[in-house]
Subunit: 184 residues, 2 copies
């Protein structure tokens, strides 16, 4: 379900606006952000970098070294900066937001009340765990992180909290209805 809009290509281009980097640097950096967006696979990254060159959005500076493989440092071009800006402004897709969970919800609603409750509880556990991971990331980052990371983390926290609140509310409601049915 690669949703055509989560474009690795432009994201790495965006990283190059901070400073020129090699593929390896990029992977390391993205990995340090894995709590937000996961990592990048080399099988995705290297072809993407080559494509950037081909389209004139980036350049390489190849540092040859006798002992090790050459270090290829990529940089963004002016054309790249222009295209990047367009990507940033591009809608992220008609909010089919939270699609994965919504699909499960639609399916789970066909289960018995007890089954549905079990599934919402399960989801709550997961949500709480990932919320905790965000908190840990927040603690770990301290004052060192840059604006982008702080913004991204804040956003993720807000959404995670909203989800938890919804789950708790709904869990209460569904349980109550279930017990009413039992009694009635």
């Amino acid at each position: 379900m690669p949703a055509g809009n989560v474009s690795l290509r432009y994201f790495v281009l965006g990283l190059l606006t901070q400073q020129p980097m090699s593929g390896y640097d990029i992977r390391r950096f993205v990995k340090s952000l894995s709590w937000l967006i996961g990592g990048v696979s080399s099988g995705g990254l290297y072809p993407a970098l080559r494509a950037l060159l081909g389209d004139g959005l980036g350049t390489v500076d190849i540092k040859l070294r006798t002992d090790r493989p050459p270090r290829k440092v990529y940089a963004i071009t002016d054309v790249g900066r222009r295209e990047l800006r367009q990507w940033v402004d591009r809608p992220t897709g008609p909010d089919s937001s939270m699609k994965a969970f919504i699909m499960r919800l639609l399916v789970a609603s066909n289960y018995s009340p007890a089954g549905l409750i079990a599934r919402i509880e399960q989801r709550r556990l997961q949500a709480a765990a990932s919320r905790l991971a965000l908190d840990e990331a927040l603690a770990a980052m301290g004052d060192s992180a840059d604006l982008g990371q702080r913004l991204a983390l804040g956003y993720a926290l807000s959404v995670a909290d909203a989800e938890l609140a919804w789950l708790d509310r709904e869990l209460g409601r569904v349980s109550q209805e279930a017990s009413l049915v039992e009694v009635g």
Copy 2:
């Protein structure tokens, strides 16, 4: 981005728990939910249905008709029900549309304060528009909708509201900082 977890395969299997359906029925039904999760393409659906048969998760009842193409009605098997339940309980991973926005946020934070503000505002417009679409869906659905759709809509609304609130808050903060810098 095919996020390996948004599995069309299991979602259609889940729809079959409500009642046996043909591929066409499924497309129509999912299309009626397009405000939540978008549609299904036939190029995705028909292969998925065939795969369900191959794996023993579903069966077909082929109604031959002289005048029209045969109508193939699919139903879920017990094995299918078992696997489906596992899918429902499976973690969903960070949502891909959230990921798409976070990536843009990380990139946009490298722009000037004015640029960053413009980008957050842009996102706010989109978020408000999709929030509005959800409200319309809510109004349109009235009392007719089933539990699953009501749950899904409520969830989507909560998350959308949280996102809007975050955007407004952050827009205020970033603007203020920008004007402080200007003055200082």
